[in-house]
C-alpha cells in the first residue's frame, strides 16, 4: 500500500508542475504593465521603474516563476491590485466558506437523489424509473446550470413564491433553517446536472455487477433481494460512483461562478467574476490555482480509496 501511495503521488508531480506553469503564464502574459496599473495614471516613469525593480518584474521569466511558486507554497498569493493593501489569500479565504458549504450541500442533494433512483432504474429495466432516469440524464446534460437555476427561480421563487430568489445566509452565523431556505435553489441548480450523470453511472455500474456470476450464485442460493442489492451489488458498484462524487464536487466548486452570480452568493465564484471587471489578475490566478490543486488532491484521494477498496489495482 505504501508503495502504491508513493507511486500515485509521484505520477501527479508532472500535472501539478504543468498546472502551475499554465496558471503562472496565463496571468503573466496579460497585456499591460502590472506596475503601471497598480500605480495609476499619474505615475512617473521613475516610479514605475522602481516598482518594477521592487516586484522583480525585470528578472528572467524562470526566476519570476520560481519566486512565485515558492511564495505560493508559503500561502502568499500576493496583494490585490484592485483593493489596495488587501492580501489575496485573505480575500480568497473569506469568500471560500459560502462556496464550500454550497458545494457540500449540492453534493448531498445529488447523492440522495441520484443513487436510489439509479439503483431503482437498474433493478427495473425498461420500466418507468428507467425511463425517467434516461430522460433526466439527457436533460441534465443539455441544460447549463444557470438555466436550471433561472428555471427554478421562475417556478419556485417567482411563481409559487416558496423560496427566496437570491441572497445568502450563512450556515454558522444564521443557522440551519435560513441556510436551507436560501441555499436549496442554488444547490439544486448546481447539483442537477451532476445528479443526472451520477444516476446514469449508478445504473450502468449496478447493471454490470448484477449480471455477474456471483450475484447469480447468491440468487440461486436464495439470498433476499435487498441483501443482494445492498450488501453484494452496491458495494462493488460504489467504486465507480465514488469517482463520480469526486468529479461532482470539483464541478460544483468550478461551476460555482455562474450559480453564485445568479443567486448573488458572496463566494469565490462571485469574487472571481468581480475580479475580471476590476482586472485583479492576482485574485483570478489564486482561485484558478486553488481549484486546480483541489481537483488534483481529490483525484488522488479517490485513487487511493480505489487502491484501498480493490487490492487488484494496487498490484498493477
Amino acid at each position: 500500500m505504501k508503495k502504491y501511495i508513493l507511486k500515485r503521488i509521484l505520477t501527479l508531480l508532472p500535472t501539478v508542475f504543468i498546472v502551475s506553469v499554465v496558471v503562472f503564464l496565463l496571468v503573466h502574459l496579460t497585456p499591460g504593465d502590472p506596475a503601471a496599473m497598480m500605480l495609476g495614471d499619474d505615475a512617473t516613469m521613475e516610479d514605475i521603474a522602481a516598482l518594477h525593480a521592487k516586484l522583480g518584474l525585470d528578472d528572467p521569466l524562470i526566476v519570476q516563476y520560481i519566486r512565485w511558486v515558492s511564495r505560493c507554497l508559503q500561502g502568499d498569493f500576493g496583494t490585490s491590485t484592485a483593493v489596495i493593501g488587501q492580501k489575496v489569500s485573505d480575500m480568497v479565504f473569506s469568500h471560500f466558506r459560502p462556496t464550500l458549504c454550497l458545494a457540500i450541500y449540492s453534493q448531498l442533494i445529488t447523492i440522495l437523489l441520484a443513487i436510489p433512483t439509479g439503483i431503482l432504474a437498474a433493478r427495473k429495466r425498461g420500466r418507468i424509473a428507467d425511463m425517467i432516469t434516461s430522460v433526466l440524464s439527457l436533460l441534465g446534460i443539455s441544460l447549463p446550470s444557470f438555466m436550471m437555476g433561472l428555471g427554478l427561480v421562475l417556478l419556485v421563487a417567482v411563481h409559487f413564491r416558496a423560496l427566496p430568489a437570491a441572497g445568502y445566509k450563512d450556515l454558522f452565523t444564521d443557522g440551519l433553517l435560513p441556510f436551507l431556505r436560501y441555499m436549496t435553489l442554488p444547490a439544486l441548480s448546481l447539483g442537477f446536472i451532476h445528479a443526472a450523470y451520477m444516476m446514469r453511472m449508478t445504473k450502468t455500474s449496478m447493471l454490470e455487477v448484477l449480471s455477474s456470476d456471483y450475484i447469480k450464485m447468491a440468487r440461486s442460493k436464495g439470498v433476499k433481494e435487498h441483501t443482494i442489492i445492498g450488501k453484494h451489488a452496491f458495494r462493488n458498484a460504489f467504486l465507480t460512483v465514488l469517482t463520480v462524487i469526486g468529479q461532482g464536487f470539483i464541478s460544483a466548486l468550478a461551476g460555482a461562478a455562474v450559480v453564485e452570480k445568479l443567486f448573488t452568493i458572496p463566494g469565490i465564484g462571485t469574487l472571481m467574476v468581480d475580479s475580471i471587471e476590476k482586472r485583479d489578475y492576482q485574485v483570478i490566478q489564486a482561485i484558478t490555482l486553488l481549484i486546480a490543486m483541489l481537483n488534483v488532491v481529490i483525484n488522488l484521494i479517490i485513487d487511493l480509496l480505489y487502491g484501498l477498496c480493490d487490492p487488484r489495482i494496487r498490484l498493477e
Binding site: 439527457l138 455562474v258 484558478t288 481549484i291
Partner: protein, 302 residues
C-alpha cells in the same frame, strides 16, 4: 452469376460499389431507427437554418435585434407583432433570439472545427514520437486538471471579452479532450495488420499517418466534434452570462439571460425564450452526437 466470380477489375469495382452502397443504406436505416437521433438532427438543422437566414426571417417580420421600438414598447409581453415580447430597452426579443442562434452556431462551429483540427494533429503526432508523446500528454493532463469553465473564464479575463477570444479560449479548453481521443484511436489503428503491412512495404511514417491512420480515426473525432459543439454553446452562454463572453449589445443568448436576470419578476419572456433556445440546441447536438456514436459503435452508450 458467373460474372460475380470472375476476377476482372470492372466487376470487382462494381461489387465493391454495391457493398458500399448497401452499407450506407444499413447505416441510414440504423440512424433513422433511433428516433431520438432523428429529432436531434432536425433540431441541429433548424438551428443552423435560423443562424444562416436570421436577417431574412427577422426582415420578413419587420423586426430588428438592435433598434429600440420606443418607450411605450418597454417590457411588453408576447403578442402577435412581437411573438417573444419586448425587453427592458424596448427591443424585440424574437429578433434577438434568432440572431442569438447565429452567435451560438458560429462559436460552436469554429470551436468544434479548430479544436478537432488541432487536437487531431497533436494526438496523432504524439503517437509518432515517444518523447513528445510524454510531453504533450502531460500538458493535456495539466490543462484538464483546471476545470473547463474556470480555465475559460481565466482565459477570457486575460484576453478580453469579444467573440474571437471566446472562440480562442474555448478552443484551448477543448483541445486536450480531442487530443486524448485522437491519440488513443491512432494507437489502436497502428496495431492493425494493414498498417504493419504498409510499414513492411516501406511506406514513410508520414504517409502512413496521413493516408492510412487519419481516415480510420475520423469517425470518433467527428462524433466528438458534435459534443464539442454542444459544450461550446453552453460555455459561450455561461461566459456571456457572467459578462466575460460576448459583450452587449450583441444578442447572445447568455448575454440576454444576464440582462433578463434583473427583470425576472416582471418579464418572464425575457428569460424563457433565450433559455429554451439554448437548451434545445444543446439537446439537439447531444442527441445527434449520440446517434452518430451508435452508428460507429453500436455497443457504446448502452
Amino acid at each position: 452469376m458467373q460474372s460475380a466470380f470472375s476476377t476482372d477489375t470492372a466487376s470487382l469495382a462494381r461489387i465493391r460499389k454495391e457493398l458500399v452502397r448497401e452499407q450506407r443504406r444499413v447505416n441510414l436505416r440504423r440512424f433513422l431507427h433511433n428516433k431520438l437521433s432523428v429529432v436531434g438532427f432536425f433540431i441541429v438543422f433548424l438551428m443552423l437554418l435560423l443562424a444562416v437566414f436570421a436577417p431574412v426571417i427577422t426582415g420578413a417580420l419587420g423586426v430588428d435585434p438592435y433598434t429600440s421600438l420606443g418607450r411605450e414598447m418597454r417590457l411588453q409581453p408576447p403578442s402577435a407583432a412581437h411573438p417573444f415580447g419586448t425587453d427592458n430597452v424596448n427591443r424585440d426579443v424574437f429578433a434577438r433570439v434568432i440572431y442569438g442562434a447565429r452567435i451560438s452556431m458560429t462559436v460552436g462551429f469554429f470551436v468544434g472545427l479548430f479544436s478537432s483540427l488541432i487536437g487531431t494533429a497533436i494526438g496523432m503526432y504524439a503517437t509518432i514520437n515517444a518523447v513528445w508523446d510524454n510531453i504533450l500528454m502531460r500538458i493535456c493532463d495539466g490543462l484538464k486538471a483546471i476545470p473547463n469553465i474556470l480555465l475559460a473564464i481565466t482565459l477570457m479575463a486575460v484576453l478580453g471579452a469579444n467573440m474571437h477570444n471566446v472562440i480562442l479560449s474555448l478552443t484551448i479548453v477543448s483541445v486536450p479532450g480531442v487530443a486524448r481521443i485522437a491519440r488513443s484511436q491512432a494507437l489502436l489503428v497502428r496495431e492493425q495488420t494493414y498498417i504493419e503491412a504498409m510499414r513492411a512495404a516501406g511506406a514513410s511514417r508520414f504517409r502512413i499517418m496521413w493516408c492510412h491512420v487519419l481516415p480510420n480515426i475520423l469517425s470518433p473525432i467527428i462524433v466528438q466534434m458534435t459534443f464539442t459543439f454542444a459544450t461550446a454553446i453552453i460555455s459561450e452562454a455561461s461566459l456571456s452570462f457572467l459578462g466575460a463572453g460576448i459583450p452587449i449589445p450583441a444578442p447572445s443568448w447568455g448575454g440576454m439571460l444576464k440582462e433578463a436576470r434583473s427583470y425576472i419578476y416582471n418579464g418572464w419572456w425575457m428569460v424563457v425564450f433565450p433559455a429554451i433556445f439554448t437548451g434545445l440546441s444543446v439537446l439537439g447536438f447531444n442527441l445527434f452526437g449520440d446517434g452518430l456514436r451508435d452508428l460507429i459503435d453500436p455497443l457504446s452508450g448502452r
